[in-house]
Amino acid sequence: MVPSSNPDLHPLIRKLESIFDLTAEERHGIAKLQVTIRDLKADQDIVRDGDRPSQCCLILEGFAFRYKALEGGKRQIFSFHIPGDVPDLQSLHLTVMDHALATLTASKVAFIQHETMRSFLHAHPRIGDAFWRDTLIDAAVFREWMVGIGRRDARTRIAHLFCEMFVRMQAVGLAHDGGCDLPITQAELADALGLSTVHVNRSLQSLRSAELIELTRGRLTVKDWDGLQEAGEFDSTYLHLRPPAARAA
């Protein structure tokens, strides 16, 4: 029998299938997964720094980000998350949150109790491996951001982030017509890239006037992919994506 899929959790299936082909049994396991789905507003904390969560969350729709708030209202954004991501997976093993997770836009999120997640992963070890792999890629992304914040100039940093987001969205089928949703404000870009908003604004204008990208109403359009990769010194190796040819049609 082909198990009916839980349509709500489709983003998780899409994410996992960007890594390997799921068996019917694994799909069935996802369909049976007990979750609590909630609609959250933009800029809402999902988990706070210092929390001891008993559940982790799967982004179904919208965008989220991880950050640390600093003295005087400053903050550093560590990563942006897209549908199919489980951005607080680490709470399964690390009891206390050492940073916060919040929605960037209005989002639909599935909460999965840690106990439920544990038995799900024991029953489906390949999915456990895929989640482990995902946390390793998470670390690879942090390394790349560290290179950016430490050593790349502002324009290169922004171009690199756009390349990264576009390729990640593409990998889970969320890029269309040479672009993807990217509802990140200039202030959020500044907090992610360690720049002032004014500097982000100027560098964005430079990427626009070089006709590499357009960024309007929360959508990124890539006008010159080769040029954007060059401007961002971007090489997607660190994302360890499955070649499209290896994916099931």
């Binding site: 100039d153 502002a154 324009r155 200039q186 002032s196 908003t197 004014v198 500097h199 604004n201 100027r202």
Partner: protein, 77 residues
């Protein structure tokens, strides 16, 4: 909170700001402009570098502050 606009010019290349940034006060806007100028000094453009940031408190208002930063590396006389 008010919105401030920061037009920047680096080595004659002017980029007007049409979006603006929401900041708590004029003092914060001045600080933001100085920070941005210092960051722009670190960008990969060629030296010498002349950076100017004009701060306005409306999209078409008169400037309320101007930050200038000049970066040169001269040979010994």
């Amino acid at each position: 909170m008010p919105r401030f606009y920061f037009d920047s010019t680096v080595n004659g290349e002017a980029v007007p700001d049409s979006e603006g940034v929401v900041l708590p006060s004029v003092a914060a806007a001045r600080q933001e402009a100085m920070m941005a100028a210092a960051e722009m000094a670190k960008d990969d453009d060629p030296c010498p570098k002349e950076i100017m940031i004009v701060v306005r408190d409306g999209p078409v208002s008169e400037p309320i502050a101007t930050v200038r930063l000049s970066l040169a590396c001269d040979d010994p006389e």
